[in-house]
């Protein structure tokens, strides 16, 4: 059961999401390579999962009954690592090791390197299928844990995605919730120029999924939508979360050039200053 969000918790989550963004910038600056736009755009959703939605225990990442959060588009892993560290899976100091030799924080997440990342991912289009496998195990073992999968919009271009969509509907996997990061960008440009995805909602409806749309930066609305998905029993649910790539950092927002590169020192300083100002705004808004 996911609790309804009250005002105090919401403010806490919004502040945490801002903290996640700042840590993402600092972590990417230290790493010297990696993706900026996706992690910033998904900070609110990762924050919602780790600090409100998931039934999990950072001290027992292998706990059999935990909810699974499976990241299909592995390249946005900086936001996952940062959020996991904040949640207590590992020390914050370890974020400095991202993408470096002997690190548990691989450039794309690797299951056996770091407990809690659930799967190895990076090559696109494979996460929904892996989530299906785990959801099938839950059904076979009569377990109540839920499987959440986060996927990008770009990877909806992979054929494997639609193979998985058909399968999940066939087996009525109501314990699976897919969240698509609909930020409209991919490496080569805007999704609708590279390879149009629309009408995306209608595609999933036609594939016999329950489809919901939400503002991916409205934590309250997102949590409510996930709660609604739990009430759907006859099919899997996809939540199309509309997000702004680079959210929170003005010069990165909606610019696909920030898909796959980190900020340099000056850019990071500028981004952090902006995010710190934003943190003050969040606090005053809730007063």
């Amino acid at each position: 059961m996911i609790e309804e969000l009250h005002e105090e918790k919401l403010q806490d989550l919004e502040e945490k999401a801002n903290q996640i963004r700042q840590l993402v910038i600092e972590t990417l600056l230290e790493a010297g390579s990696g993706h900026s736009a996706g992690p910033l755009g998904m900070a609110d959703i990762f924050c919602s999962f780790y600090f409100h939605i998931l039934n999990h225990d950072p001290k027992r990442p292998d706990w059999e009954d935990r909810d699974r959060l499976i990241l299909s588009n592995g390249h946005i892993c900086p936001v996952r690592y940062v959020t996991m560290a904040l949640a207590g899976y590992f020390p914050l100091a370890e974020l400095k090791t991202l993408r470096k030799i002997n690190s548990r924080l691989q450039g794309h997440p690797h299951r056996t390197a770091l407990a809690g990342v659930e799967t190895t991912s990076g090559p696109l289009g494979e996460g929904i299928s892996q989530s299906i496998g785990v959801a099938l195990t839950a059904k076979l073992d009569k377990k109540n844990y839920r499987v959440y999968c986060i996927a990008s919009d770009g990877e909806q271009q992979e054929g494997n995605t639609w193979e998985a969509a058909m399968f999940a509907a066939k087996y009525k996997l109501n314990n699976l919730t897919l969240v698509i990061d609909r930020n409209n960008i991919q490496i080569d440009g805007f999704t609708e120029n590279v390879m149009p995805l629309e009408p995306l909602k209608e595609k999933y409806t036609a594939f016999n999924w329950e489809v919901k749309e939400v503002d991916g930066h409205n934590i309250k609305a997102f949590v409510d939508t996930v709660r609604e998905a739990h009430a759907i029993f006859e099919k899997p649910t996809v939540i199309i979360a509309h997000t702004i790539p680079g959210k929170g950092v003005d010069f990165m927002e909606k610019d696909f050039k920030w898909h796959g590169k980190p900020p340099n020192k000056e850019e990071a300083a500028k981004a952090l200053a902006e995010l710190r100002t934003l943190q003050g705004k969040i606090q005053s808004e809730h007063q």
Binding site: R111, P123, E163, Y171
Partner: protein
């Protein structure tokens, strides 16, 4: 002579030797596993009957998943099952799985260390009339390069059943290679089987050549050995059912007397059993080797018998390779 310790089929050289496809052994093994291991699940991609999953599917419908024609999806779903406590078998033709879905398996099963057994069917040119599109002849090469995979190529249906059952004894990924066509039964129920072990099927005094075979062509190696013996040439014939990890000690021991090797496989010479043995001997004890296998070519439609003849994988080709390697050794 046939190695008496292995209790091999006494009728192996009879004209009417029992012929069974190795895929049947896979089906029998799955059926047994369904009974003894509740965590075993099976997935197929629209090839339930032809990959012999039907008995498992009928008896254990809750643990059988029909994926439709979608090999990548099948592999990654199996990966999810394998990391959450199940032992997942995926069954398709080897050209599609691990062929078409190679990267999916690499990422989600091999690197991810998921407990998945990949059953590649219709391997080798003995797939026959379907033609080269369906004859998997590179599957050993493309799986052997993966770190941490075990590769098993059963020589007959009985060994296929034992190998299928034994594959769940290790909780890491396994590739099992099966054939469509009926092939001779060389072993018996009593023949011992152990993963990772080379077995000498044909022994002799002072062998001049050691023949390492894998899969159904081992039968032709045995036929060659009987004729060679009559012609005064002594050989060993060893069954390399586990290609990875290679039984290095046995391989070196079996080669130390003969100092000459012939490898036999229904697969491209590049990257298969011959390649694996050449890599080992090159770094331990450089030894002349002749390779019997597909020589950098696709085959074609035809009967298995005609294809084996045309592409040089049969008894006569093996005998020629033995003679050639002896002359190289002595030159």
């Amino acid at each position: 002579m046939l190695n008496p310790d292995l209790k091999l089929n006494e009728h192996i050289f009879d004209e009417n030797v029992e012929m069974v496809p190795t895929r049947n052994g896979f089906g029998d093994g799955l059926e047994k596993l369904g009974e003894i291991n509740p965590n075993v699940v099976v997935l197929t991609a629209d090839l339930e009957e032809s990959t012999k999953c039907e008995k498992f599917a009928e008896k254990y419908p809750d643990r059988f998943f029909e994926c439709g024609v979608a090999e990548q999806n099948m592999a990654a779903i199996a990966a999810g099952l394998g990391i959450s406590g199940k032992i997942a078998f995926i069954a398709s033709y080897a050209t599609f799985s691990p062929g078409k879905n190679w990267e999916t398996i690499r990422t989600t099963i091999i690197y991810n260390q998921s407990n998945v057994k990949i059953a590649g069917h219709h391997s080798g040119i003995v797939t026959g009339p379907d033609g080269a599109t369906h004859q998997a002849t590179e599957d050993i090469a493309i799986t052997r390069a993966w770190p941490g995979i075990s590769i098993i190529v059963p020589c007959d249906a009985l060994e296929a059943k034992k190998a299928t059952i034994a594959s769940v004894d290790i909780n890491t990924p396994v590739y099992l290679r099966f054939t469509r066509d009926k092939t001779p039964t060389m072993t018996t129920e009593q023949t011992p089987f152990a993963l990772g072990k080379i077995q000498t099927f044909w022994t002799s005094q002072k062998p001049q050549v050691t023949i390492f075979g894998t899969g159904h062509l081992l039968y032709y190696a045995l036929l060659a050995a009987t004729e060679l013996e009559k012609e005064g040439t002594n050989v060993f014939v060893a069954n390399v059912s586990t290609i990875k990890p290679l039984d290095e000690k046995a391989l070196i021991d079996l080669t130390s007397g003969s100092q000459a090797v012939v490898t036999v496989e229904d697969h491209q010479i590049t990257g298969g059993l011959g390649g694996a043995i050449a890599e080992l001997l090159a770094k331990t004890k450089p030894t002349p080797i002749e390779f019997v296998g597909l020589k950098d070519t696709f085959a074609e439609s035809g009967s298995p018998k005609d294809l084996i003849e045309k592409y040089g994988l049969g008894k006569e080709s093996i005998k020629q390779a033995v003679k050639k390697v002896i002359s190289r050794k002595n030159s």
